[in-house]
């Protein structure tokens, strides 16, 4: 009796997981579709529906590799939180991709730092800026 119930619960859980995956796939498909459309319009060509479906399927599967790699990188650094260094390591295979991702990471940390500074100014009034912290954080990138 109990075993049957547990099986039923597991089945329900599997079903839920399946719907989640389907929903995520649909959303990825939509995003990939509009991104491809944009690229195609600029070049005066068009994508067939199967082509877009293939690209979104590949993207979805690539996410699995990304997620597993990131998890491993963080664990290797004895962390449980994935940070930007892990993402940079993910882009190691192509040097131009690595350059781009490094640039973006600098941009993101600069924007975040600025927002932090703004908040500080609001809360503490005329305190001195602590912009040196951002520099020490980025030293590892070179």
């Amino acid at each position: 009796m109990e075993l049957g119930q547990r099986e039923e619960e597991e089945e329900e859980e599997d079903q839920r997981q399946l719907t989640l995956i389907q929903n995520l796939k649909a959303t990825v498909h939509y995003t990939v579709g509009s991104m491809c459309q944009e690229a195609a319009d600029a070049k005066g060509v068009r994508f067939t529906k199967p082509a877009i479906a293939a690209i979104s399927e590949v993207t979805f599967r690539q996410c699995e590799h990304f997620a597993k790699d990131l998890e491993m990188f963080a664990r290797h650094a004895k962390r449980s939180t994935i940070n930007m260094e892990d993402v940079k390591l993910l882009a190691r295979r192509s040097s131009s991709l690595l350059n781009y991702i490094t640039e973006k990471s600098e941009e993101i940390s600069r924007i975040n730092q600025e927002q932090k500074d703004k908040k500080k100014k609001k809360t503490e009034g005329g305190n001195k800026k602590s912009s040196k912290q951002a520099v020490t954080e980025m030293d590892i990138d070179d």
Binding site: L20, I21, L24, T27, V28, T31, V32, S34, M35, C36, E38, A39, A40, K43, G44, V45, R46, F47, T48, P50, A51, A54, I55, V58, T59, F60, Q62, C63, E64, F66, A67, K68, L70, E71, A74, R75, S80, T81, I82, N83, M84, D86, V87, K88, L90, A91, R93, S94, L97, Y100, I101, K104, S105, E107, I108, S109, I111, N112
Partner: protein, 79 residues
């Protein structure tokens, strides 16, 4: 930071990553998530651009699965 053109939403990328984590305690920092959005955008844009270039090399005005298949191996090697 908000850019022109369609892009992945952070919530979506977050869910996609968490779907495949083996350890439930694993977390993603906000800036890392932002960088992952960028990473996926480049992946899709690169896939589209290479497929378009392949189609143009074959003198076609529509990009079919066949063209994407040809650029797929190198795409996966680059990411």
């Amino acid at each position: 930071m908000e850019e022109d053109g369609p892009n992945f939403r952070k919530e979506l990328v977050n869910k996609l990553l968490f779907l495949h984590f083996k350890d439930d305690r694993c977390k993603v920092s906000a800036d890392a998530l932002q960088l992952m959005v960028e990473m996926l955008k480049i992946f899709v844009r690169e896939a589209a651009a290479r497929a378009i270039r392949q189609a143009q090399a074959e003198d076609q005005d529509k990009v079919d699965i066949e063209q994407f298949e040809k650029v797929l191996p190198q795409l996966l090697l680059d990411f």
